[in-house]
Structure formats: C-alpha cells, structure tokens
C-alpha cells in the first residue's frame, strides 16, 4: 500500500480503536481531548512518515505516540487537579506512569463499551448515528454531512450537543449491568439498523460513501455477535438482515449510478458469500423465544434472495409482512405487504386493500397503485404514476417513475 493510501486506511481502522481506549481511560467528559490526541497523532504520522519514511509497524507507531500523548495529558490533568484542589500527595508525581492498556482485548472491549455509551437512550437517535459515525467509524464531519444531506456546520453542532449530553448525563463508558443489557442493546440495535438504512436507502448520490455506511453498520453489529454478553438472537437477526440486503449492493446500482429495481436486477451478481453469511446468522438467531422485527425482516430478506417468482415465495413473504405489521406498523411495511398480497392473492384483492391504506402523500403509495392497476385499468395506472412523479423527491426516484410513465405510451 502506498503511503498516501496508508494513512487514510489506518485512520479508518485504527482511529476508533485508539479513541475508544482513550475515552474509556479519560472518562466521557474528555472525549474532545481524546479526539485531539488521536488527530494530533495522525497529523504527526503524516509529517514524520513523509520525512523519514514508514516505520516498521505503522499501527504500533500510532499506538505508541497516542499512548505518550495520553500519558502527558493524564500527568498534566492530575497536576492541574492537585493545584486547584490544593491536595498534596505524598508520592512523587514522576514515579507514577499511568497505565494505558492497548491490548487487543481492551481495544475490543472499549469499542463495545463506547458503543453502549453513544447509544444511550438519553441521546437523540439522529445524534447517536452521528456520534457513531464520528467516533466508532472515524468519519469526518464532511462525510457525515454528505450522508445526511446536511452541511458541515449543522453536523458539528449536532455532534457537540451530543457530546455535551454525554457529559451532563454522566454516561459511563461501560457494558450495562446484566439486568439492563437487553433493553440497552435494543437502543444499540436500533442505531445500527438506522445507520445501515441510512446507507442503503439514503438519497445521497455518493454511492461509495453509502456502501461504506452499510459496511460500518455491519462491522459494529458483528462486534456484538462476537461478545458473549451481547450475542443475543436479535443481534444475529439484524446482522442476517444486513447480509441479505448487502448481497445486492452490486446489482442494485448500474454503471451510470442509477438504481436498478429488484425485478430488473441481474441475480448472477448477487453476492452468494453474503447470502450464505446471512443464512448462517439467521440460523443463529433462531434460538430463544423472542421474535423481534429483525427476525421477521431478515426472513423477508431471505425470501428475496430467491429470484424466481413462485407462489410459495410470495405466500411466505405475505405472511411475514402480516406478522411484521402486528409487531410494528410502518407505511413502507404496509406498502410492501400490499405488493406481496397482489403476488400471493391476486391484484384485485390487493387493489381493494391498497385503496384503504390512505398513504396519499407518499409517492411509493401511488407507484404501488400504478403498478396494481396496470393492465386492469391503465388510465388509473397512469394517473397514479403521474401523482407519484409529482410527489417524488430524489432524482433517482423521479427517473425510475418517468421510465414507468413512458412505458404506458
């Protein structure tokens, strides 16, 4: 790897590790200091390596420098506290070197603990995602802004408020106690689910970045399944869901960067290894007796990895959506369920139910009705498709709908 690629690469892989260890060590009130130390370390790396060439073990070099800077900070901080509080201690300051544990185990534990701190119920969901991207994924404010279709200033403010909240709520960087772990994990899973969805469905045109978001969500989720305390069925189900969706990364966007609809995708480029991973985690999720929405959604995604349009497939998908809607209503689930209804029970029945959904402000609702009325009442089909075009917000959506309108002519 070239040096100009190495530093960004190391930043992506090592930033989160070092920062998690330092935050854990300093306490949540010193996140900014930890961030400064890690940024300074990378800055120094860029300067030093440019002049003197690469060290033998670049990652170890980063750890060493960050460690020294952390020791300096702790010494200064302790000194500062002693001066302020006028507490004189017997021991000589110079003799006490703070312990900084950069073992693989501590790095991995610290990241997991950091994840729980960030995904604390006191932090708003949007800020949780931002903080996760910034601290656990090493994303810059610019990249986060791009993913959220926002600007850098807004993201800076949002991150600053979230960090302030971590401080004022005195949120500790630790794995929650056994009796709260299930409910706290629920928040963590929600954040990972949103993070993945942000990448998978985001309106951002930057497809590389979107894929990166999905992969980061998967990496963090994988971490949960690798720790005994957090390896619960729901975490495995969510990871299965992500694997199934991710298997279509290459097929769902064409060379021009346009979305390719599921029906039109080339299934030979679906990633079979990821589908198998998904099946593996779905099997691991099938223990215990709680059925979460992640289980149901993963099962739906599993059936979508079968391209052939069989009645068995759509009947299974319909029943899964029936179940999902009983667990949690969302407009998108209601729309997808109605599509499955048309495939399993026929268009006529689906039209009757679709008309009752009343999601008239949603472009997908009109796209669905346009699809259902096609070849039953083409005039109505066209009318709904035009309505969908008027309501669609992103260029990609508009292009897809325009193609459909042209197909009527």
């Amino acid at each position: 790897m070239q040096q100009n690629e190495l530093i960004p690469h190391l930043f992506r892989t090592e930033y989160r590790k070092i920062i998690s260890v330092l935050c854990k060590l300093f306490g949540v009130e010193h996140i900014a200091t930890a961030e400064d130390i890690v940024s300074d370390t990378f800055l120094l790396a860029a300067e030093t390596w440019g002049l003197k060439g690469l060290p033998n073990n670049p990652a170890a070099w980063l750890y060493m420098v960050a460690k020294n800077k952390a020791v300096d900070f702790l010494r200064r901080d302790t000194l500062f506290k002693q001066k302020i509080s006028n507490v004189l201690q017997e021991q000589d300051m110079a003799d006490t070197t703070p312990e900084i544990d950069l073992s693989t185990k501590n790095i991995s534990d610290s990241q997991l603990q950091m994840m729980f701190a960030i995904c604390h119920p006191a932090i708003p969901a949007e800020a949780q995602i931002g903080l996760s991207l910034s601290i656990l994924c090493g994303f810059g404010a610019e990249e986060i802004a791009d993913a959220f279709l926002s600007n850098k200033e807004t993201i800076y403010k949002r991150l600053a408020r979230a960090k302030e909240k971590l401080r004022t709520e005195k949120i500790s960087i630790a794995i929650p106690a056994q009796q709260e772990i299930e409910s706290r994990l629920h928040t963590v899973l929600t954040t990972l689910y949103l993070l993945f969805s942000e990448g998978y469905y985001s309106a951002s045109q930057n497809t590389g970045l979107r894929k990166e978001l999905c992969l980061e969500a998967m990496r963090l989720n994988l971490m949960l399944t690798e720790h005994e305390q957090t390896n619960i069925p729901a975490a495995n189900a969510l990871l299965a869901l992500m694997c199934f969706h991710a298997s279509r990364f290459e097929a769902r966007i064409n060379k021009q960067g346009e979305m390719v609809l599921y029906e039109e995708q080339d299934e030979t480029i679906w990633n079979k290894a990821l589908i198998q991973k998904g099946e593996y985690y779905l099997t691991r999720a099938s223990t215990g007796n709680t059925l979460t929405k992640y289980h149901v959604e993963a099962a739906i995604a599993y059936w979508h990895t079968h391209k052939a349009d069989t009645l068995e497939k759509w009947e299974n998908i319909l029943q899964l959506y029936n179940k999902l809607l009983q667990i949690e209503y969302t407009p998108i689930a209601a729309l997808n369920r109605t599509y499955a209804l048309s495939k399993a029970n026929g268009k006529k029945e689906a039209i009757i139910q679709a008309e009752k959904l009343q999601l008239t402000n949603n472009h997908l609702y009109h796209s669905l009705l346009g699809n259902l009325y096609t070849s039953i009442d083409d005039a109505k089909a066209l009318q709904h498709t035009k309505q969908a075009l008027a309501l669609a917000k992103t260029t990609a959506d508009k292009e897809t709908i325009l193609k459909k309108i042209n197909s009527f002519k």
Binding site: E315, L318, Q319, Y321, N322, K323, L325, Q326, Y329, A333, A334, R337, T338, L341, N345, Q353, K356, L357, Q358
Partner: protein, 115 residues
C-alpha cells in the same frame, strides 16, 4: 381514535378435530390475511388471542359449570382490538372476518377507556 373489541363467536364444537400442519396453515391464512389488512391500515391495537373450546363458568355460590355453552349454542372463539374513529368504521373493519365464512359472527364493542 377509540378502541373496539371484536369478539368472534361461532357454534360451539365440543372437541375440535386435530388438524395436520397443512390444514392448520390453510385455516390460519384467511385469519392472518384479514388481520394483516387491518394492521396495514395501522388500525390494529392488539392482535388478541384465540381461545380453546374447553372452559369453565363460575357462578354465584361457587357453582362451576362446563362453560356457557349449556345455555347458548355459541361460544367465543377469539378476539382482537382495533382502532377506529367510530363504531361504524370498526364494523367496516370487521367485514371480511373469516368467522363469517363458517356461519359465525363478530360482535363489535366500544372499549371504555379507564383513564
């Protein structure tokens, strides 16, 4: 929005024949599709429960009988709770309930909020 209890009644059958998994699935599909229709409109408050045929009735003086079926022929088979703006709308949701296909009926009752 108010909540309404939908009670399914049908003729009491003392012992239901054991169903094969396929038969059970075939029996459940219309129910799941019907409940799914309501849930897709975001009008399902509670998926409710199915009730077994077997039951007891306790009367004043600790008299226990084998269910209400002695005096009336119909028995409650299950219930769900729906959300609707009016009794009329709730009745509209009840249409299509699979109990109607086997000669049963749906009783629609407004739930009185205890708050």
């Amino acid at each position: 929005m108010k909540e309404f209890l939908l009670i399914f009644r049908r003729e009491h059958i003392a012992s239901e024949p054991a169903l094969s998994p396929e038969q059970l699935q075939a029996m459940m599909k219309p129910w799941q599709d019907w409940i799914g229709n309501i849930a897709a409109q975001n009008k399902l408050a509670n998926s409710g429960n199915r009730l077994e045929a077997d039951g007891r009735v306790l009367k004043t003086g600790n008299i226990v009988t084998d269910g209400p079926y002695v005096e009336i022929k119909e028995a409650i088979g299950g219930y769900i709770i729906v959300k609707a703006n009016s009794l009329e709308e709730a009745t509209e949701l009840a249409k299509g309930c699979p109990i109607l296909m086997v000669g049963g009926n749906v009783e629609i009752r407004t739930i009185v909020s205890m708050n």
